[in-house]
Symmetry: C2
DNA sequence: AGGCTATATGAACGCGTGTTCAGATAAAAC
DNA sequence: GTTTTATCTGAACACGCGTTCATATAGCCT
């Protein structure tokens, strides 16, 4: 048998990514087999290799797509204004963007050690670009003396770590709405860097 | 051959834990084989089963030991005083304790998904105990109006996430000393929850 | 209608997995 | 010095792994 009814590259390709994203997030890269991914897609394992060269590249592409979507989306809606407004925008953007794709976020920083050194370096470079965005805001705010942070780099990492924490506990339909979560974290971040 | 010179339960037992801790942190639970652990200990794979019933239990015990050490250590040196002093102590304790054992910390929250549901529940209960410690400080401080947090639970999670972030970048001998890192984070936390 | 090609199957490859266990031996007990 | 016991080896088990490839066919092109 081969090429079952309705099958098509344009369909199977994305479905592999979707299935892999979900399974990697759930069980971890090393614990998920190509056969499991294929089963989720509704195909035999061999068929996956029409779309990806190997398992490692599949992981890398998931991460790369995620990081580039993050950077592109951020670039498109990065606000203007004074540092405080830009910081507020960043906080709200970060929380919203990350809560919208918990699986990709989870993978993008839990599976770093499963990347080859070359692939790891490429992902870390993209992450660095994103963090530099926040760092610039904090630096500008410090220069204008509307912020006061003891160390710009550490403040950047501290704020991002705090915001990333949201993904570990937030569940839509829970006690707090997305707007409320954004407000609470914006309040804490604003005060943490306040002059 | 069997029972090579100098071998002993009191030596091999802890060496298994140490080897597993290091390897799990480095490559992830699913990616590490019992044979790799055994090789690190200098023993054949079968010998491991004189000390642990199975791989899953080995992982669980590592996490359990870590969480109980965390709780015990914290209990022994939990400070008294006003909420601000207690919060400062907590921040310093958390950073120091976690930086001292990066492998165990890494495992204790990266490998949660590889625990059976029962084991997962037991670890999460221990974690909850620890978080409640900080939550009480923030609640007391809010009641005394020396702190002002929009939501005690979220502030707890936010602060812990921020502090945990230190483990991802801190390297001893780097730009900042441990004391400086503690001071920087204490400054940010203090302001974030300030009235 | 016929040929071409993209897309799938399913078997096979060599290898590694967690775990068990009979047998061997060093160290402890007597 | 002999017996007992704790500790380890090494082979084996059944199974799953990532990947390859000859083969088959559904759908498009002419």
């Amino acid at each position: 048998m081969a090429r079952t009814q309705g099958s098509h590259s344009d369909i199977t390709g994305p479905r592999i990514q979707t299935a892999a994203l979900k399974l990697f997030a759930q069980h971890g890269y090393a614990a998920v087999s190509m056969r499991q991914i294929a089963a989720q897609v509704g195909v035999q394992a061999g068929a996956l290799y029409n779309y990806i060269p190997d398992k490692q590249t599949l992981l890398f592409r998931l991460m790369q797509d995620h990081m580039e979507t993050l950077l592109d989306t951020r670039r498109r809606q990065a606000g203007q204004g004074d540092p405080e407004a830009r910081l507020r925008d960043f906080v709200r953007f970060h929380i919203r963007f990350h809560l919208e794709r918990p699986d990709a976020v989870f993978i993008a920083y839990m599976e770093l050690r499963n990347l080859t050194p070359e692939n790891f370096a490429r992902i870390e470079e993209l992450r660095g670009n994103y963090e530099r965005d926040l760092e610039n805001i904090l630096r500008d705010g410090s220069a204008a003396e509307v912020f006061s942070v003891p160390d710009t780099k550490l403040a950047t990492l501290g704020v991002i770590a705090m915001l990333n924490g949201v993904n570990t506990w937030y569940r839509s339909g829970g006690r707090l709405s997305l707007d409320e979560v954004e407000a609470v974290y914006w309040s804490m971040v604003r005060k943490a860097v306040a002059a």
